[in-house]
């Protein structure tokens, strides 16, 4: 027993009658919600917490020193230690991934695939001591969310590579939106794995009007009638950044004063809010406990197979596009193997294979055609319908118009992070 959210998923699955996708991934543990309870029991996180030395620990100061040299351009070593989130790659019933098998076949590199990351913050807690001491973390490739890329970059904890020569498939096949992101200029340390939207969703059975605006989630005048049926997220970055959009502030340009205004808005909204959720928001929306809620796109896509009425809304004011990225931690033993994997998954055929399973936003637009192709070749109607649904969904292949209305999380420096955490703590815990 290591993770409450996986148990929650299992129970949800068991209690859900006739679920078509039962063997596909139900909810990604988007632990971005840090579903608090479970991760608290993760021993490594607690041990890591105890590991901070007392007197004059110089953690951090040693790290950035080392080298600013660029990795890549060499021969792969034949081994790749890959840390990823649970249920975030295609897997068959025995947990074997076709993508990883094909990668080994094509490159001769053996992959040690570790579904180690339950939550950005606690994973960082686990690898931080090694990075601060300038030691190898044991991983060559890890998938972390954009804001953590920004943080680790600032601390000098990520290896730099030349994306043009080392990951040519990214340059050729990634959607324009993913090039040169704010958290990592010129993709010198990261390329996206999958991404998704933090937006809002509602259950039309419980809501009489059409929901189009963040006003309908935040403004007491609108939400009074749904009191106790409003859901928000417990993850500070998601909630604060979406609230900033409601205030008309581009999160990237937000000041602490803006964050304080966001706190005030959230405090005014709090009496109407049922709870601050992690990935369990999906359960609340499905069982009718929530009428309007903040939502992650991938979860809604999955829920719609059971209840096609549920709607995801990219509000007029905009939504947050978060990006989980492949990165190489400083001191990694097999950086060339990691780069080989990055390049491998940017082939449309491989990207399609992963997307068909995980249903998040695919960074490779060309994969859409490949999935349609797969639908035509499918040997039964069920699979064909499913694959077409994936290929046609705006939640998997968003239109340019939809993407143009999305914003990134603000990358917070240490002081800002402390201040934002404090402000948000008042909101969720009184």
């Amino acid at each position: 027993m290591h993770d409450e959210s996986s148990i929650e998923r299992a129970i949800a699955r068991a209690l859900r009658p006739g679920r078509r996708l039962s063997r596909r991934r139900f909810l990604r543990d988007s632990g971005r919600g840090a579903i608090v309870a479970g991760s608290a029991l993760s021993l490594p996180a607690i041990l890591a917490a105890c590991g901070i030395g007392p007197a004059g620990s110089t953690a951090g100061s040693a790290a950035p020193s080392a080298s600013n040299k660029v990795v890549g351009g060499g021969e792969p070593a034949g081994t790749l230690n890959f840390a990823n989130w649970p249920l975030y790659i295609d897997q068959d019933d025995n947990g074997k991934s076709e993508t990883l098998r094909m990668f080994t076949e094509a490159t001769g590199i053996e992959v040690n695939y570790d579904e180690k990351i339950e939550d950005n913050q606690s994973f960082f807690g686990i690898i931080q001591p090694a990075l601060a001491a300038g030691e190898d973390t044991g991983y060559d490739l890890m998938v972390i969310t954009d804001w953590l890329v920004g943080n680790m970059l600032r601390l000098g904890f990520l290896e730099e590579f030349d994306v043009a020569t080392s990951v040519p498939n990214f340059v050729a096949n990634a959607a324009p939106k993913y090039h040169d992101p704010v958290y990592d200029p010129d993709n010198r340390h990261s390329v996206p794995w999958q991404s998704g939207l933090t937006a809002m969703a509602y259950n039309p059975a419980l809501v009489s009007e059409e929901i189009t605006s963040l006003k309908q989630l935040f403004d007491p005048a609108f939400i009074e009638k749904y009191s106790g049926k409003i859901g928000m997220f417990t993850e500070m970055r998601d909630t604060m950044n979406l609230t900033l959009l409601y205030l008309g502030v581009d999160p990237a340009k937000a000041t602490v004063a803006d964050a304080e205004r966001a706190r005030d808005v959230l405090m005014a909204q709090a009496p109407y809010v049922r709870g601050y959720y992690g990935n369990d928001f999906a359960q609340g929306l499905a069982d009718g406990s929530l009428a309007i809620t903040m939502a992650w796109s991938g979860d809604i896509f999955q829920l719609q197979f059971d209840n096609p009425d549920l709607k995801l809304v990219v509000p007029e004011e905009g939504a947050i596009l978060w990006v989980d990225n492949m990165t190489i931690p400083k001191g990694a033993q097999h950086p060339n193997d990691a780069l080989a994997m990055m390049d491998f998954v940017y082939q449309p055929e491989i990207a399609a294979q992963i997307t068909e399973y995980v249903n998040y936003i695919c960074p490779v637009p060309a994969a859409q055609e490949v999935i349609r192709q797969h639908a035509e070749e499918a040997d039964n109607q069920d699979d064909a319908d499913y694959l077409n649904a994936v290929a046609d969904s705006e939640l998997v292949f968003p239109s340019e118009d939809m993407l143009s209305r999305t914003y990134s999380y603000k990358v917070l420096d240490e002081d800002e992070e402390r201040q934002w955490n404090e402000l948000f703590g008042e909101v969720v815990q009184g």
């Binding site: 608090v36 608290a40 007197a55 601050y276 402390r418």
Partner: protein, 285 residues
């Protein structure tokens, strides 16, 4: 051997050695680490430095005052509820259980065969607003459509009570089981009513069990965060939730350690008062 024989008095201490070492490694050292961390300042990124920042203790008590008080309140209510439910249960099993005693005890500990996290999450499904219990009652018109059980203080308190009930029943049972029925018969022979016999004989003799049981429910109930997390809302945040969030979400180890220590001291103080009151009562009777 000769040396041991000459220093006989050292033998009891040798027996204490394994337990003592265990306590030092797994209790004293972590406690000192916690203390040290709570007095540090910094961040996970740039490292922590010991600055003997004692101000953090009054600051954290002021900042989280509301959650501390709420946790103590919930702990107290839960202790009383578990006692009211658990004492009759233990009494019945001990004195009226007959040949079903073992079976009944097995039923009491049965819930432990499943992780309490899973059981608590199951309550979430069972009691969901439109779930099969409330949903059905609402369809029948028995309940108002806006009625809900989850995300209320009652849900949290009931959850904790439910989860800690076995911890109360077992020590109470052991204490009650030990009472010699002849003592109660003797009271009856001396013209005590059943009520008097219970108040003058059974209850006082079971007090050690009551004491153990109340500690076993109060201490974990005050520090519990899971029930508040799963069944509660913003208005039911307990101090455990705050510590959990500070530790694992904000990575603010000093603040979290300081709160843990304050919580520990707070519980110790309440127990100390409780012991004084209880002893006073015993002297009074």
């Amino acid at each position: 051997m000769g040396w041991l024989r000459r220093h006989r008095s050292i033998i009891p201490y040798l027996f204490l050695l394994p337990g003592g070492l265990w306590l030092i490694v797994f209790f004293v050292l972590p406690l000192l680490t916690t203390l040290s961390v709570s007095l540090q300042e910094g961040s996970l990124g740039s490292g922590y430095r010991l600055t003997f920042n004692f101000a953090i203790f009054p600051e954290s008590i002021m900042r989280w005052n509301e959650q501390f008080v709420r946790s103590l309140q919930y702990g107290l209510i839960v202790t009383i509820l578990t006692m009211l439910i658990g004492y009759p249960m233990a009494y019945t099993i001990a004195f009226r259980g007959g040949r079903y005693k073992s079976a009944l005890l097995l039923l009491v500990i049965m819930p432990f065969f499943t992780s309490f996290i899973i059981r608590t999450i199951s309550w979430k499904f069972i009691l969901a607003d439109e779930g099969f219990v409330l949903g059905t009652l609402k369809d029948w018109g028995v309940l108002d459509p806006s009625f809900r059980l989850l995300a209320t203080p009652m849900a949290v308190i009931s959850g904790i009570t439910y989860n800690f009930l076995p911890f109360v029943v077992l020590p109470l049972y052991v204490a009650l089981e030990r009472i010699d029925p002849k003592l109660i018969e003797a009271a009856n022979d001396l013209y005590a009513t059943r009520r008097q016999a219970f108040l003058k004989v059974t209850l006082p003799l079971s007090m050690p069990g009551v004491f153990a049981a109340s500690l076993l429910s109060f201490i974990p109930a005050v520090g519990d965060y899971l029930n508040a997390e799963l069944l509660g809302s913003r208005q039911t945040t307990m101090i455990g939730n705050v510590i959990q969030r500070l530790f694992l979400v904000n990575n603010d180890y000093p603040q979290a350690s300081a709160l843990s220590l304050v919580l520990m001291v707070g519980i110790l103080v309440s127990i100390f008062i409780y012991m004084r009151v209880l002893r006073g009562q015993e002297l009074g009777t």
